[in-house]
């Protein structure tokens, strides 16, 4: 049988998340002696097949339709359901991204089967699947029995390191007639809010808290972030004080981030902030208080006044970057 992975792409660009899902799908498939196949939707689906093959796709099912001209949750779900009905996979999986979860929810609704979102471990069991999934943004895990003729799962984003495993990647065109009505939820337009990396995707986030003292102090964080190709974030106290926009806020009620480096300047580390930043690979805290919450959670800390340390770091970065 088959583990069917839904490939995400935005006008031909495949996100890392899809490769994470492929990596996880390979493990699941191997445990069941299944093959990994991928479904790619829309006009660019054939062109992304090589990348999918590189990450383990034996077959890449491509589906084209006027209503798949761009992303649309209903059209995607209908198309995948048609394929599922045709090839009867043991599992349909995707990454637990906004689109991945949305499409899988639609698939499960149409198949009238269960859907487990943000899974970190799954295996076949006697009655179906034993699945471990994230709750509370990953603070808790839930073991569930998933009882369904086809397992619909999304794999938690950021929980798997994507690896390559070249496979055949045979492109197979699947023809399906999708009703025009599905166009009602297809993207009509896009607007760009900011260029380049975003807070959510930046490899480096330079963040300031109450210890910044005022809005003007963020200029040096902007400078440092730019030198490092990163973005500026902030704590809730900062947005409450009106020093930065809510869109810069890292936390439970702001953006959740997972950068390579999180440089936290003058942030004491209230829980609601930490929940948004805990996905960071490396945390460096600059704070005058060695006992502050974020210092105790950081891998590295400088216990000193950020107003002295940050300019020194900027100098040093400039020096080394030449």
């Amino acid at each position: 049988m088959t583990v069917l992975v839904i490939a995400e792409h935005d006008r031909g660009e495949v996100p890392i998340a899809t490769f994470e899902a492929l990596t996880a799908a390979r493990t699941l498939a191997a445990s069941m002696d299944d093959t990994v196949e991928v479904v790619a939707l829309g006009d660019e689906s054939a062109q992304i097949a090589p990348d999918l093959a590189l990450h383990g796709a034996e077959v890449v099912h491509t589906i084209m339709s006027p209503v798949l001209s761009d992303y649309g949750p209903e059209a995607y779900a209908e198309a995948v359901v048609a394929l599922v009905n045709a090839i009867s996979p043991s599992a349909v999986v995707a990454s637990g991204t906004s689109r991945g979860n949305e499409v899988l929810a639609g698939v499960a609704a149409r198949l009238d089967v269960a859907f487990a979102a943000n899974v970190v471990a799954a295996e076949k069991s006697a009655g179906g699947f034993s699945v471990t999934r994230q709750q509370w943004g990953g603070s808790l895990l839930e073991d569930v029995d998933l009882d369904a003729r086809v397992a619909v799962l999304s794999f938690a984003h950021h929980s798997i390191e994507p690896t390559e495993a070249p496979a055949a990647g045979t492109v197979s065109t699947f023809n399906v007639d999708l009703p025009d009505e599905l166009a009602r939820t297809v993207i009509k337009d896009r607007t760009v809010t900011s260029a380049g990396v975003t807070l959510a995707t930046a490899p480096v986030v330079v963040s300031g808290g109450r210890g910044m003292g005022n809005a003007e102090a963020f200029a040096m964080l902007e400078e440092l972030a730019e030198l490092l190709g990163g973005r500026v974030g902030c704590s809730r106290a900062v947005t409450n004080n009106g020093w930065r926009n809510h869109s810069d806020q890292v936390g439970q009620t702001g953006t959740r981030i997972a950068p390579e480096v999180y440089l936290a300047c003058g942030i004491s580390g209230a829980t609601q902030h930490w929940v948004g930043a805990m996905g960071s690979k490396n945390v460096i805290a600059i704070n005058t208080d060695a006992e502050a919450n974020l210092v105790t959670k950081a891998g590295h800390a400088v216990i000193a006044d950020l107003h002295e340390i940050v300019p020194a770091i900027i100098e040093e970065v400039k020096k080394r970057q030449g």
Binding site: S268, T271, D289, A290, E291, A292, N293, T296, I303
Partner: protein, 842 residues
Amino acid sequence: MSDFPTSASCVVIGAGIVGNSIVGHLAEKGWTDIVLLDKGPLPSPGGSTGHASNFIFPVDHSKEIVDLTLDSQAQYEEMGMQNTCGGIEVARTEERMEEFRRRMTSATAFGVEAYMLTPAEVKGHVPFVNEDVIVGGFYCPSVSVVDSLETGTIMRKRAQDADALLVFANTEVLDIETAPGKNKPKVTAVVTDKGRIECEHVVVACGVWSPKLAEMAGATIPLTPAVHQMADVGPFDILVETNQEVAYPVVRDMDTFCYERQSSGSMEVGSYGHRPILHRVDEIPSNEEALLTPTEMPFTPEDFDQQMEEAIELMEFLGDGEIRYAINGLLSLTPDTAPVLGPTPEVENLWSAAAVWIKEGPGVGRLLAEWMTDGYPHLTDPHGADATRFYPPQRNVHHVEGRCNEHFIKTYGITHPREQWESRRNVTVGPVKARTDDLDAFYFEAGGWERPHWYESNADLVERYGVNKSRTHVWDADWWTPISDAEHLHMREHVGLVDLSPFQVFEVSGPGVVDYIEHMVVNKCDLPVGRSIYTPMLNASGGFRSDLTIMRMAEDRFRIVTGAFDGGRDEYWFRHNLPGDSSVHFENRTNGTVTLGVWGPDAVALLSTVTESDLGQEAFPYGRVQSHLIAGIPVDMFRISYVGDAGFEIYAEACNGMALWDAIWAAGANFDLRPIGAAVYGTSGRLEKGYRLMGSELEDEYTPVEAGLARPKVKAADFIGKEKYIEARAAEGVAQLCVLSFDSLRCAAGYDRFPVGAGNEPVLTLEGERILDAHGRVSRLTTAGNAPSVGKYLAMAYLPIDKCEPGTKLQVMYQYETYPVTVEKTGADLAMFDHDDARMKA
């Protein structure tokens, strides 16, 4: 981060306002190697300090609380952490206005500027108050709002800068280890999740967590976490426009138990009006488990609705404010509302600094540092907050919760000084309570004991003696009855039986007992067997710690008798000072003893009918203790009197109590014997004789010389406070205890008032000026009451030497009116009745 230490002189647990203030003051007093721990992060580790509204109303009816508050305000001011915005308490009832008159009296006594306001004047200060719902206000310009977190940081930093302190946040105390000490377990180490610190002293300054920490060492700190609801409401243009944290006076809406405190653009509305919501310590979430902090528990809006409605009545614009933050904030409540300070009775060198409000924090820091350094504090005499004041039945969660459920609503309530508790009654009763019940005793609680205050069965005496039957003002009449004066007169004419079982009876014995007892008290105890002595017991400062009656029962055995209110403190002190070598044995005999008193002109005659012993003055002189049989019951009889008539204290085994009572009662039929309550024994009887009472006239601030209790000579033996006592004797007198009589009790409304004598009524000059002595101590009534046999209303007060002369005319303020008084007596003999003690020695 500093290396975690393995030893310290003192470990202070808890980095709230109290713990920080303590380390600051310890360092200032020269302590080094101090360690401050908290399980939460800094600067706000998650205790009650972090969510406090941080305002300070300095007026209180308790002198020690005012002392602590004023000292704290001075410290906040010195650190630049105080914003003096003023504060107004508003009244919605006439009853509250009377309370404001009492507050004006306290403010006058303790030197705090204050004014009574009309509703229009209140509106003048706070324009958004609805003057239609209030009848007046009490305005105190020195009310302030402070930054308690920053103050804590400064305190901590001062100790760190002095190289006296290491601070470890995010460090959880797992255990407090003890080892056998001199007389009881002594702290040896604090075990944390970061390591073990050996130490000499441990201070528990953990707020709501204190009972749990004390328990680790085997000690008790009787308090309970309780909810105080608070909501931040706003924003409002009228507040935003001020561009200040606090521009308007803090308003306390006393009759709805609410306050409104500006916080920049919004208003903090807090309430003590909801149902009591008590928690157990183990119900408090950890820092990690809590959404906000452990002491900011989830808001329960249904408990706050009524307060919201009432707040909107007072300040209509509040209704349109958004509720941006609302908590069930935890704070610490104790059974009697006072803090729990000083050494714990169970464990040596384990100190409590708990149940302290922001208004007292820095002062408590200084007080504890003094206590730990000098043996007893100087800032104020904290006997009302002393951690050792509670008896064992009062030190547990049942008592704490029972009392706190009762008094939570009184946080902003009006509590009469004589008011009695309803909860947790009849827990500790004497051996003859069945008999006093039969006589319709009305009980007041004395240190947890049920003590008859008067007997309804004596109601017939009111007519017989023609005493003043009523008091016009309800405040004067509360918790009072004319029966007491009638009982008094009956005892003076016939004979009375008093249940004295709440007396605290200690026995000390052993080969080292003479040296020990001489070391403890001022007067010479090494007397022949059968003699007794009344003596002060002093702190090292030379001030009163207690006054005691001591009887020599045998060559190596003394009986010590102290009052029901002081037993806990005195027992702690006696045990604390035991030599620790088993040469002296201490035993509290109270619970096994029945103590009855028989006094009056017919006392000797009556008792002579139930004993075959000769009770005549020759065989049994005044001041002697002898063993006899009464109706075949072995008793120790002590010929003494605190009431001014002849008679005896009679001690027996508790199991014989009923039979003893019955025998005396039966014999009393021929003498018109009546039961007499503590209102006579403790106030009117002793007041006529000018006898001093611990906690009223006697406290650490005053010396035996000033109290008129210095003997002609100082004994040879060394004793605690001797050096200071000798200094005080040699020094020129500054103040002296005096008896005053009221020339008139007539108030402006045309009827008589009857001052309570609760410690907050100031003595004023004829010009109305407050009277301070050369040491800055204020003259105030320490006791007041009717003297039925003298025919005057009397009071006691310390006066500066130049005002002690009998005949000096002064005034007393009571409920914000003044009454003329005359100095009657001063010095050693303050008796207004039976000046030469002829009746007592008859």
